[in-house]
């Protein structure tokens, strides 16, 4: 019986691939990560942001250094990016050909762009299409 169960478990896992990948710092997606006092309840650091008022230093204080800094005309873009992939895959292959494949994966590619004017004041915030639902900057985007 024990041998049978071992063989069954092996057969069930055969051809299985488990993958976990992530790249980037997800800090900009998390609420309250930049809270100066850990005892304070989590607050959305971008809730106080205002177009035309919030400065570059306030943005950096709230969401940290960006992954990229780009000049787009007169605008300065701070680009934050985080990619995450977790997948389970089952493939059955015989005679060099694949005749069954099952894939269950979660892919998150979150990107946030904070645009500033020449005076280093907030112009707008853009979020990538596949940004996570918990993106703190969504507060601004939904306005």
């Amino acid at each position: 019986m024990r041998n049978f169960l071992a063989a069954l478990a092996t057969a069930a896992l055969s051809g299985c691939t488990l993958t976990t990948e992530w790249r980037g710092d997800p800090g900009f997606l998390l609420e309250g990560t930049r809270s100066a006092n850990a005892a304070e309840p989590s607050t959305d650091p971008t809730a106080a942001w205002e177009v035309g008022r919030t400065t570059l230093r306030e943005v950096l204080r709230d969401v940290g250094p960006p992954d990229e800094i780009l000049r787009r005309g007169r605008e300065l873009w701070l680009v934050y990016r985080y990619r995450y992939r977790k997948a389970r895959e089952l493939r059955l292959v015989a005679y060099g050909g694949q005749f069954f494949r099952w894939y269950d994966g979660k892919d998150v590619d979150s990107m946030v762009v904070v645009a500033l004017d020449p005076e280093d004041r907030l112009l707008y915030v853009g979020r990538g299409r596949y940004a996570g639902d918990r993106g703190v900057l969504g507060v601004l985007l939904d306005r």
Binding site: D25, G27, L30, P65, I69, A94, P118
Partner: protein, 228 residues
């Protein structure tokens, strides 16, 4: 008399134009006969070999492989394939092949230099950009703005671990048992963490603020959020 001279001049100009490197005749000759022509490539002789004319103007041609007509082997074959860059590519290919055959692969990749904690102790408001450069080294980015400048340091550290149980990818092709290649369990883990430091200077190149991320804290926080 004047008319005859004018006609001769026009014919001369037309003849020179047709024989010039960019003329239709010259380009047709180069395209059709190319390297086997006793005249050689007229366009290359006239315009030079290192440039071509595009809609964006003169563009340098640095790759000799762009001229492969009627050549038994690519030009500069021994030189190009023996240069160090080719060796590095070959080594990477060999490493990828060995990884595919290995049961356990663990490694780290580094891009850029992570600033050590003690180097950041020199940072304080008011120090100059020159002092920062002396303490931290060359930045990845230095961007001048209207009211000052931004100096950024960025590095990425990657960690990967792959565990594979079963026959290696190619070996199962040589064992005549159907489905043997299916008996394989593979677990792959790859994390690339960025370490970013951004310094803000005022118009007098004096440090006014600096910001640093902590990817490990973000990771812990993300795990807490996921289990909440």
């Amino acid at each position: 008399m004047t008319t005859a001279r004018g006609a001769t001049l026009q014919a001369l100009v037309l003849g020179l134009a047709s024989l010039s490197g960019c003329g239709v005749l010259a380009l047709t000759h180069d395209k059709m006969l190319g390297p086997v022509s006793p005249a050689g490539r007229i366009h290359s002789v006239v315009v030079s070999n290192d440039y071509i004319v595009t809609e964006r103007g003169l563009v340098g041609v640095g790759d000799e492989r762009d001229q492969p007509l009627f050549r038994p082997i690519p030009p500069g074959f021994p030189r190009r394939y023996a240069e160090p860059a080719s060796m590095v590519k070959g080594l990477r290919g060999a490493m990828a092949f060995l990884r595919g055959l290995s049961f356990v692969v663990w490694g780290r990749t580094h891009t850029g230099r992570v600033l050590p904690e003690d180097a950041l102790t020199v940072l304080r408001k008011g120090i100059t950009a020159a002092e920062v450069l002396a303490a931290l080294g060359t930045p990845s980015l230095w961007l001048r703005r209207k009211g000052g400048s931004l100096m950024g340091y960025r590095a990425e550290v990657g960690t990967f671990l792959s565990v594979s149980l079963g026959l290696p990818p190619l070996a199962d092709q040589f064992v005549p048992i159907p489905g043997l290649g299916n008996i394989r369990i593979r677990w792959h883990y790859n994390i690339i963490k960025p370490y970013k430091t951004l310094l803000v200077f005022d118009a007098q190149e004096r440090l006014v603020a600096w910001f640093r991320n902590d990817p490990d804290a973000s990771e812990r926080r993300l795990e807490q959020e996921a289990t909440r």
